[in-house]
Structures are given as structure tokens and as C-alpha cells.
């Protein structure tokens, strides 16, 4: 098989189509949530809504990731908290501060930025993959989580796991010739891009909705945690 032609397809028209579907799909989800509407606020608030939102974001970004023991999520199930946190951190570092990925952003946005040395990105990627495996095992054995896990949850895990592993294999030139590894990586990335808008992975957008709404509610009732 000629991997050169396959790579050209995966980097060219297929990626283009996947990106367009991603943009269209995310817009659709965004509009749907936006048009769910906002309940009319008929009761005068006890505190400032804006203040609540600000504090909610500050806590979300700075306190809960770094001083986790203030949260029940951590004390009740430290594995989910640590593995989940590590996974997200690794994802951000690899996708934004990895050199190869920065070049993708640069080609799409038109500007680039300094990146981290490869060994650091590499260890983060390995940690992220390990965290994903831990989370998958947890899903298999946790009695409650087992009940909540359906096909789409497993597909979420799989579609994120594949690009991460193939990317790691590609960077280290393991198992496959480079162009073959590159092709497989791009194919899995394209599948993920198409999958995101129609799955819960779209939570990276809804995170901001829920944080804003909860913050506003807390602020209004002057019960900001």
C-alpha cells in the first residue's frame, strides 16, 4: 500500500472535511444551548451576580486544580480527580505547547508561539495516556460508574485514546514507518474532530456555560462557596 497517497488524503481533504464538520457541529450545539433560554429573574438578589461569576471562575481555574482537598470530588474519589486532572493538563500541554501541534495552529490561525522542549511534552503525553488507562479501568470496576457507562462513553474514551497513543508512537518512531504512523494519527484525529460536536467531549464549551450560570446563582443568593 502506498502510504504517501493515504497520508495526503488524511492531511488534505479528509482533515478539511472533518474541520468543517467540527466547526458546523459546535456552532449547532452552541446555538441549541443558547436558545434554551434564561429563566426570567423575578426575585431581587441578595448579592452581585457578576461577583459570583468572577469568583466561580477564579476558584475553577486556580483553587480547585491546585488545592484539591477543599472539594468533595477529591476526598471521595481521589483517583478520578487526579487521573482526570492529569489527563486534561496533559491534553492542553500536548495540544498547545507541543511543537508539531503549534505548527498546526500556526497554519490555521496564521501565528505561532514558543513551545516546550520535546522531552517535557513527551512525558506529559505518556502521563496522559496512563491516566486514560486508569480512568478506563476505573470505569470497568466502579459499581456506580459501571451503571452509567454506555457505548457512547466507551467511544469517547476510544476516540481520544487513539490519537494520543498514535501520536506518541509517531513521535518515537515505534512499530510503523513514519508516514504510516502519521496517516493513522491523522485518521484518528479526523474521526475525533467529527465525533466531538455530537458527544460529551463538547463539554469543553459547556464548561463555561455551567460555570457562568452556577456562579451567577451563587452570587445572587450570596452563597458563593
Amino acid at each position: 500500500m502506498n502510504w504517501n497517497a493515504a497520508l495526503e488524503f488524511a492531511r488534505g481533504p479528509f482533515f478539511y472535511a472533518a474541520l468543517i464538520i467540527f466547526i458546523g457541529g459546535m456552532t449547532y450545539r452552541f446555538v441549541r444551548v443558547l436558545l434554551l433560554g434564561w429563566k426570567p429573574d423575578k426575585v431581587p438578589g441578595k448579592g452581585s451576580k457578576l461577583g459570583g461569576v468572577l469568583i466561580s471562575y477564579l476558584k475553577g481555574f486556580f483553587i480547585w486544580p491546585f488545592i484539591p482537598w477543599v472539594k468533595n470530588t477529591f476526598t471521595r474519589n481521589p483517583l478520578i480527580y487526579l487521573a482526570g486532572g492529569l489527563f486534561h493538563l496533559s491534553l492542553f500541554i500536548v495540544l498547545i505547547l507541543g511543537t508539531a501541534h503549534m505548527l498546526v495552529w500556526k497554519s490555521l490561525l496564521g501565528f505561532g508561539w514558543p513551545t516546550l522542549p520535546l522531552p517535557i511534552v513527551d512525558w506529559m503525553a505518556a502521563a496522559g495516556i496512563a491516566a486514560m488507562i486508569a480512568l478506563a479501568i476505573n470505569r470497568l470496576i466502579h459499581p456506580v460508574l459501571k451503571l452509567l457507562t454506555g457505548a457512547s462513553e466507551w467511544l469517547n474514551l476510544l476516540f481520544v485514546f487513539l490519537p494520543m497513543t498514535t501520536g506518541y508512537i509517531l513521535t518515537h518512531h515505534l512499530f510503523f514507518p513514519y508516514e504510516m504512523g502519521f496517516t493513522i494519527h491523522m485518521l484518528t484525529v479526523n474521526i475525533l474532530l467529527i465525533w466531538i460536536p455530537f458527544s460529551r467531549i463538547a463539554h469543553f464549551m459547556f464548561y463555561f456555560f455551567s460555570r457562568t450560570i452556577h456562579g451567577a446563582q451563587f452570587g445572587k443568593r450570596a452563597v458563593t462557596p
Binding site: V31, L118, Y178
Partner: protein
């Protein structure tokens, strides 16, 4: 065909035993032979001995060299081959019967000589092709002596023992085939299906590789080829595999510009668009100009000139991880528009189906009773 074996030819010209062994050594190296037996249990055969054996049994091979949509760069390159030199090739292992750039004869005489050679050595000559073959508009974009390139290729290929396609144009279509391919250019292997074909891509092909493959073919037949019909001995590794800047890649030290600190320190050229990781060629080991240097060594990223469609494989100075094209603003805007329209439509339908809360309350007991 010359009656004498190559060894006899050489002896007839007064070549000493010492010179003969030296030549055998050069040829063994050039042909990319390794000291490896075919069977694991057999005693390894010294590559030089293999060459000596072949020289004593094989005859000089007649070569017909055709040029189509090319720049004669591959010919220029092979004339600078260091080991074996073109002189070595012409005097020792080959008889070049027809070559438009190198031959002294021209015009109808040269064409007649070619016809005579093709008749005389039918089924035995090696056909070397340089340049791509246009088929658009009846092939009028490239003609020699009033005949189209397709016609000439088919005629010459019919009587060839094997075809060696040198350079990216003959191997994969090269620059003439680049988008939008105005002449409908094709590679040799796209047009000739019934002959053994060896591709030696590159822009130009590395002279030592062209010469080595020709020698290898004459002495030992078609060498081991990869899926793109390239000899594994020369195209078995990527530029990246053998790159002298590889340690900087592993350490994540990349040159950001051509005149920055990284460039002066000799760091990896990945960010400047190097295509080394997906390019199979021998540049990093054989190098150019008698092993003086090669593009990456002298500070320029690899363009990937030994790969199919390298001219359309993304910008030369754009990192290889970048997608081949970015969506136009209009396409992205259209995607946003369609997404938004579908979202709004779905929301409107949902709202119109929603009953009034008061009605819901009233209906609730009925629903329970129905159950």
C-alpha cells in the same frame, strides 16, 4: 550484444589485476551490496567477490536513454558521479547506444542509430527514462523527431529488458505532474505495465545512486524494491533516520528561522518545513558532490523530492505536521451559518411543541389515570 564478458573487455584493454579488484570494490559499494547471504545458514559472501564473479560472467549492457519532460538535471548529475564515474560506466559496464544530451550525433542520424540499436539488442537493452510523459491533447506537449513521448516510450519499452526511471519526473511525474498538471503528465510506471521498472526518484536523482543501480542491474538483475519500486539499498531509510541533525530533533531543539540562533547552532529544521521524516532517500549517507554535503547539512530543510507528488505536499517552509490546506474564511463561515441555522430551526420546533405549564399541570392527573 558485445560478445566478450566485462572482465574480458577489461583485460583486453590492459587493466591490471589490482585495478580490476579496485573497480570491483567500487562497484560493490556503489551497487549497495551488503555482506549478507540470501539464506541464513549459508556462508556470507564478500560483496567484492560477488562483483568479481558477475564481471567474469556478464557482458556489457546496452543502454538506451530517453528524455521527455525533463530538465536534463539527472543527466547533469550522473555526469558528476564520483563512484562509479560516468567514464567508468561507459567504458566498463555499459554501452550507451542513445542519449540525447551526451551523444555527439544529432538529428536523423541519431534516430537511425537508436532504431538500429533497438533492433539489434531487442529484448536485451536497458531503457533509462528521464522526465515525465505527457498524454494530454494526444501527447503534443513533448515530441522528439516529430513523434510523441508516449509513442517513443511504448516503442522503446516493448524491446527493453528492464526500465530504469531516473528522477522524480520519470518515477512519479515530478514537477510537470504538479497541480494543475497542464500537460496530463504521467510517470513511466503509470504507462508501462509489462516490464520490470526500477524507480530512482530525486530532483535530481543522486548520481551515485543512479550509477549504482544501473551497475547493480547489469551485474545482478533487478534489486530488491519497495512498494514504490525504489531499490531498498538506497531508499530503505528516511532522511530523518540518518540525519546529522537528528539528536536535536530528539532533544526538541528546533531552528525557528534561517538566520536565528538555532540555525547557527545546527538545530533541527522541522519547524522550517523539513520533510525528512517521510522522505526515503540516501542523501544523508551518500550526500552530494563526492560526499561534501546535502541540503539539510547545509541548512535547508528537505523538500521531499524523492516522494510522489512532493510539489503538492504542503508548503516547502511549512511544518510537516500542518494540514495541507486551511479552510477558507468563507467555508468556515458557511459551516457556522449552517450549524446556527439548524440549531435555530431545532430550537423553534422544540418551542412550538412545548405545551404551556398550566396545561401541563392540568393534564398530568389524566396521564396518570391513563396509565
Amino acid at each position: 550484444m558485445p560478445e566478450k564478458t566485462i572482465a574480458e573487455e577489461l583485460r583486453g584493454r590492459g587493466i591490471s589485476r589490482r585495478e580490476f579488484l579496485k573497480l570491483s570494490g567500487i562497484l560493490a559499494g556503489a551497487a549497495g551490496l551488503m555482506e549478507a547471504p540470501i539464506h541464513a545458514l549459508a556462508k556470507p559472501i564478500n560483496p567484492v567477490e560477488r562483483v568479481i564473479q558477475a564481471l567474469q560472467t556478464k557482458q556489457r549492457a546496452p543502454v538506451i536513454w530517453l528524455e521527455f519532460q525533463d530538465c536534463a538535471g539527472c543527466t547533469e548529475a550522473i555526469s558528476r558521479s564520483q563512484a562509479p564515474t560516468l567514464v567508468d560506466l561507459v567504458l566498463n559496464t555499459l554501452t550507451i547506444e542513445y542519449h540525447e544530451t551526451l551523444s555527439a550525433a544529432a538529428g536523423f542520424q541519431a534516430e537511425e542509430a537508436k532504431q538500429a540499436a533497438m533492433k539489434k539488442y531487442a529484448g536485451a537493452y536497458v531503457l533509462v527514462v528521464e522526465g515525465s510523459i505527457p498524454t494530454g491533447d494526444g501527447g503534443v506537449y513533448c515530441t522528439v523527431g516529430g513523434r510523441t513521448a508516449v509513442d517513443l516510450l511504448q516503442e522503446a519499452a516493448a524491446g527493453a529488458a528492464a526500465i530504469i526511471a531516473t528522477g522524480n519526473c520519470a518515477s512519479f511525474g515530478g514537477i510537470p505532474k504538479a497541480n494543475p498538471n497542464p500537460t496530463t503528465a504521467h510517470s513511466v510506471m503509470a504507462l508501462v505495465k509489462d516490464k520490470p521498472i526500477i524507480n530512482i526518484p530525486g530532483c535530481p536523482a543522486i548520481p551515485e545512486v543512479t550509477a549504482g543501480v544501473i551497475v547493480n542491474y547489469v551485474l545482478f538483475g533487478v534489486p530488491e524494491l519497495d512498494s514504490l519500486k525504489r531499490p531498498v539499498a538506497f531508499y530503505g531509510n528516511t532522511i530523518h533516520d540518518r540525519c546529522l541533525r537528528r539528536p536535536f530533533y530528539e532533544a526538541g531543539k528546533f531552528a525557528d528561522s534561517f538566520d536565528g540562533v538555532g540555525a547557527r547552532q545546527g538545530w533541527c529544521l522541522y519547524k522550517l518545513g523539513c520533510k525528512g521524516p517521510t522522505t526515503y532517500n540516501a542523501c544523508a549517507t551518500i550526500k552530494w558532490d563526492a560526499g561534501l554535503s546535502f541540503p539539510v547539512q547545509s541548512g535547508h530543510p528537505c523538500l521531499g523530492c524523492s516522494q510522489p507528488d512532493f510539489w503538492d505536499g504542503g508548503g516547502f517552509y511549512q511544518g510537516q505536521s500542518a494540514p495541507l490546506s486551511r479552510p477558507a474564511l468563507a467555508a468556515a463561515a458557511a459551516a457556522v451559518g449552517i450549524g446556527a441555522a439548524v440549531g435555530i430551526g431545532a430550537a423553534v420546533i422544540n418551542r412550538s411543541q412545548k405545551t404551556h405549564p398550566a396545561v401541563e399541570m392540568a393534564e398530568a392527573p389524566d396521564a396518570k389515570e391513563a396509565k
